[in-house]
């Protein structure tokens, strides 16, 4: 036992704050009994530290063994982004479920005047659409054919006009050429007549 204001063992093991430690130190300086007690604690600790630590008989180390390694899936599942992946998977699943076509049961409504009228209207509309779908391609084909015929007539007449024009031009050119040829023929005849000498050949 000791007479110190705080437990000497708390001081010895460093459990007191600085102020409390100073109080103990000043007490121990004047108290033989507490000083002896502290010395004994210190001797005990020093003696205990004389017991040396032993070396480990065999070094411990681990080698990588495929058998004990986590699988690829386990490693992924233990990785950081697993929560993100799980969330993304859930969202994807939700979207997929919502996107699937749902087969709903047909709703049978009672036949009233309004319903009857709407059914008739719907059938008329349906019939109109069928007729339109049937006749529209024929009408379009006829229109196209008519336009094509008109174009052909226009083109034929235009070609005929052009051909006629070129024929006249060609005839005029031929006539002009013939006239020029006649003029040259006449000139040549005149020259020939002018150079004619009726005396015998030896008398010249």
């Amino acid at each position: 036992m000791n007479c110190a204001p705080f437990d000497l063992r708390d001081y010895f093991f460093g459990e007191l704050n600085a102020t409390e430690a100073k109080v103990i130190e000043s007490h121990v300086a004047n108290c033989e009994g507490c000083r002896t007690e502290l010395d004994r604690l210190d001797v005990t600790r020093v003696a205990m530290l004389e017991l040396p630590p032993e070396e480990v008989p065999r070094r411990i180390s681990f080698v990588s063994d495929k058998v004990f390694e986590p699988s690829l899936w386990q490693r992924f599942w233990q990785s950081g982004p697993k929560v993100g992946f799980a969330s993304a998977l859930l969202i994807f699943a939700g979207l997929l479920v919502n996107a699937l076509p749902r087969q709903t049961a047909p709703v049978v409504q009672p036949l009233t005047a309004t319903n009857y009228s709407s059914i008739i209207n719907a059938r008329v509309q349906e019939k109109v659409q069928e007729e339109v779908a049937k006749r529209l391609p024929i009408a379009v084909a006829q229109a196209v054919s008519s336009v094509e015929q008109q174009d052909t007539v226009r083109l034929t007449s235009a070609v005929a006009v052009v051909e006629k024009k070129y024929k006249v031009q060609r005839e005029e050119d031929m006539a002009a050429m013939q006239a020029t040829l006649d003029v040259w023929q006449r000139k040549l005849s005149r020259m020939y007549l002018a150079s004619y000498d009726p005396s015998p050949v030896g008398s010249r």
Binding site: M48, V56, F62
Partner: protein
């Protein structure tokens, strides 16, 4: 380029990603401390070695669960404590271990002379004195004196309040003090 020592927390961070080499580095840093803690607890070298291997294996398997790398030492010794006590709770195994020739750590109840002791004699006296303690007291003293843990860390390792830990250490020191630093009065008392 700044060179600095690779700290435990660096190795832990790498080992937590599955790097076995980093974990082996951690093992080489801590195996001696863990082995000596277990040796003084179970008092048998073979058992202490087996337990050290088990502790390191469990540490590797659970390293990802360690949130704060700064708490690695108490966390590792908590595993060691659990492993040691699960073995000590097996009565037959405990008996076999202690009886196994050549592997026992007990050095007997060596008498302590009143005069100055040589280091080897002191070591023998300390080993003998430690046998006088209960398992709980011995573990608390080993953690405090040989492993240098703070009372808060010991409380975490032993899963008990700080006051209990302090009580175990202090009561153990009362016994050890009488053996290793006897007063003339207590020495005479022991001789009687």
């Amino acid at each position: 380029m700044i060179l600095r020592e690779v700290e435990d927390r660096d190795l832990i961070a790498i080992a937590q990603k599955g790097n076995l080499e980093a974990f082996n580095q951690l093992v080489s840093r801590w195996e001696k401390r863990v082995f000596n803690y277990l040796l003084r607890l179970v008092r048998n070298r073979e058992d202490a070695l087996d337990l050290t291997q088990d502790v390191m294996m469990k540490a590797y398997q659970n390293l990802r669960k360690l949130d704060d790398a700064g708490r690695f030492a108490p966390w590792l010794f908590r595993i060691a404590h659990n492993e040691a006590y699960s073995m000590l709770r097996k009565p037959q195994r405990e008996k076999d271990s202690i009886d196994e020739p050549g592997s026992s750590y007990d050095l007997g109840d060596t008498p302590v002379s009143g005069g100055r002791m040589l280091p080897v004699e002191t070591a023998i006296a300390v080993a003998a004195a430690l046998t006088r303690l209960s398992e709980e007291q011995r573990e608390a003293v080993v953690l405090k004196v040989y492993q240098g843990f703070k009372f808060e860390e010991m409380s975490e390792i032993l899963e008990c309040p700080v006051s209990t830990v302090k009580s175990r250490v202090y009561s153990a020191f009362e016994i050890l003090k009488d053996v290793l630093a006897p007063t003339s009065a207590s020495y005479k008392e022991r001789k009687v």
